[in-house]
Amino acid sequence: MNNPFANMDAKSAMKYFGEMNSKMMKGATLLTDVEEIDVGTAPKTLVYTEDKLAVYHYASDAKNACGIPVLVVYALVNRPYMLDIQPDRSFIRNLLSQGLDVYIIDWGYPSGADRYLSMDDYINGYLNNCVDAVCRDAASDKVSLMGVCQGGTFSAIYSALHPEKVHSLVTLVAPFDFSTDEGLLFNWSKSMDVDALVDAYGVVPGNLMNDGFLMMMPFNLNIKKYVDMLDVMEDEDKLLNFLRMEKWIFDSPGQAGECLRQFVKDCYQANKLVQGTLQLGDKTVDLGKITMPILNIYGSGDHIVPPAATKPLNDLVSSTDKTLYEFKGGHIGVFVGARSQKELAPAISQWLIERDAPKAAKKPAKPVKAPVAKPVEAAKPAVKAAKPVEAAKPVEAAKPVEVAKPVEAAKPATDSKP
């Protein structure tokens, strides 16, 4: 019987460990030189704050090709700088370079005082106020919403409740049909005692959520990732890429308990959104009220929000202009992968530009405003509603063929978070 380790002789082992030692020494030197892990570096100005949230407007040198401002709605469970993780892998910079006028909501870090915030507060309260603020700032009467993951679910709900304020809706890897048993989160959440969780913590710690995400691929995310890090330690750029992703993964805001309670119970466990029975405040959410153009993007290899949870949206809305876009990649690869930068961001931009309408007059963007809360100032648009282009065609070639690599070289556990 042969020994499968026969080729691993002492000489090559010594060589291997010698090389590894050399890499680690160089890596250690690089690590000690790192003063700050810079993320989210695209220039932006603060245009609105309310309680813990902030809305930023990205500056752009590119010619404005789209009159309707795009408001990016990120998930509550992570920080939005994933979309601008580093200059050469920035989804935001990519959208800007295509001529989009981009705003983003930073939900902030909830504290104990936010434990009673509900889905109604987030969607009909905060999100609605953010939309109004962007409309004021951009002198537009509508926005295009670009919702990411849970932010996509929130955006769709908002679009159903306030269709008059949404010009078009783009959802990225967002769950709508929670009845699927394809994803682990969907399986685990069905029998989860969320009452016990929320009652014990109030604001559920981000680290606790992280434990659940890391459990989805425990050996890759807790062991292999760090072993692989050794391979890139001597390369400063790759090491910094790794560190940026690592920073993002563990930079996890806590979750307002009541909002999480409702999201898990009504969506993951009762699947009320697709059944048309989800109640926010005194309003019932009917996805059939969505009539604006929608672009629904899913990752074919997404194990966090499986395609089965995303795709049904297109069958539930009343929009006639609706596109389903398959991205060959995972949950995070949608934003940071090379293919995403090359194909997805331009495709989204093109889709929005095609549905945009020239505005009669657009006020210049306002400078930074004082960071004071301006909750519900009545938005009175200076410009009348921009009419969407009639019968716009869905984006062609919306199905990339090859699998996108989420993160090059360091492979730092990309798909560990929603």
Binding site: P4, M8, K224
Partner: protein, 336 residues
């Protein structure tokens, strides 16, 4: 009894005899254990009585008492007395039934009669009650003591499955017997606190049991994964395949483990057990916080439950202010 010194001399002597009897009894139970050489009272009594000749001064007495009381000799002797029992527990030869000899009513009565030189009906009655209580305690402890004698258990061989079953059996037996004490309604001014502690103890027990169940499942899956790795290695060996470098083996190990655990993660059993374990943990945490709060009630600090009330008030007020602010803006617009 002619004089008090005779009484005390007799008392000390009887205690010495009692100690010797206990020691002898223990030796007879566990003859292979270390013998005890001396009576723990002898050095103490010797020191005390030598220090009290007629006219002994107070300082000398104080000195002798200090030395005798702070000496660890008596403690050492006590340890030696219990050592056979400890050895028996360690060597797994402990028999709950053996303790009946210690609680034999007749023997005890005889012993204590001698020690205290009285023999009244009241004392007899007390002894009977004590013996009844002792029997009750033995009956209660018998089931879980018996559960520890599971022949399938072998800690030395580290059999996780046997350990889990053992702990489950112990937990169940304890809950059905002595554990009932934790469920007794508490009385008095500390009733609330005692019941709080009891609820916490129950929650801890529930969490420990569920956690054990969960860990057993994970342990078994890890073991399955390792067997898969070994099987793959055997197949490679048989076919003559070789790993070119360590990374190849590492990749195989990671991949096999990931797949094996992923298969488990998709089962209903995993969801149920993990959620049961975490929910029990959350409940335990909540009850622990309640205990901490009740302990801190006298301190001039805001407790979590009080802060939650404030948070709720702030939340309600914040909403109200926003609504009113919107109405003000509308009114302003109408005026314009």
């Amino acid at each position: 009894m002619e004089n008090p010194s005779d009484y005390f001399n007799g008392w000390i002597k009887t205690q010495q005899q009692a100690y010797a009897a206990l020691q002898s009894q223990m030796q007879s139970l566990y003859p292979n254990t270390t013998a005890v050489s001396d009576n723990p009272l002898s050095s103490w009594s010797k020191a005390v009585f030598e220090a009290f000749p007629v006219g002994a001064d107070a300082n000398l007495a104080k000195d002798v008492f200090s030395k005798s009381l702070y000496s660890n000799e008596a403690m050492q002797k006590l340890f030696e007395m219990w050592q056979p029992l400890l050895s028996a527990m360690r060597e797994k030869t402990l028999e709950p039934a053996d303790f009946s000899q210690y609680t034999d009513t007749a023997q005890s009565k005889q012993l204590f009669d001698k020690m205290f030189s009285f023999d009244t009906e009241l004392w007899t009655q007390i002894q009977k009650q004590a013996a009844q209580f002792s029997d009750l305690a033995r009956q209660n402890s018998q089931p879980w003591a018996e559960s520890l004698k599971n022949p399938s258990l072998n800690f030395a061989d580290y059999q996780p499955d046997a350990m889990v079953k053992q702990m489950e059996a112990l937990n169940a037996k304890f809950g059905d017997s002595a554990g009932k004490l934790f469920g007794m309604p508490a009385l008095g001014k500390d009733r609330e606190k005692i019941e709080q502690m009891n609820r916490f103890a129950k929650a801890m027990s529930s969490y420990a049991s569920r956690n054990l169940d969960y860990q057993k499942m994970m342990q078994q899956t890890g073991s399955d994964a390792m067997q898969s790795v070994v099987k793959t290695l055997a197949e490679k060996s048989a076919s003559g395949e070789k790993f070119e470098k360590f990374d190849d083996f590492f990749a195989l190990w990671i991949d096999t483990n990931e797949k094996t655990f992923n298969k488990l993660f998709y089962t209903e059993e995993f969801s149920q057990k993990r959620n049961a374990m975490t929910a029990a943990g959350f409940n335990t945490r909540k009850l622990y916080q309640e205990i901490i709060e009740s302990q801190l009630v006298e301190l001039p600090i805001a407790r979590r439950s009080e802060m939650d009330e404030v948070y709720k008030l702030v939340y309600d007020l914040r909403k109200q202010v926003k609504i009113l602010n919107a109405q003000v803006q509308e009114l302003k617009k109408e005026q314009l």
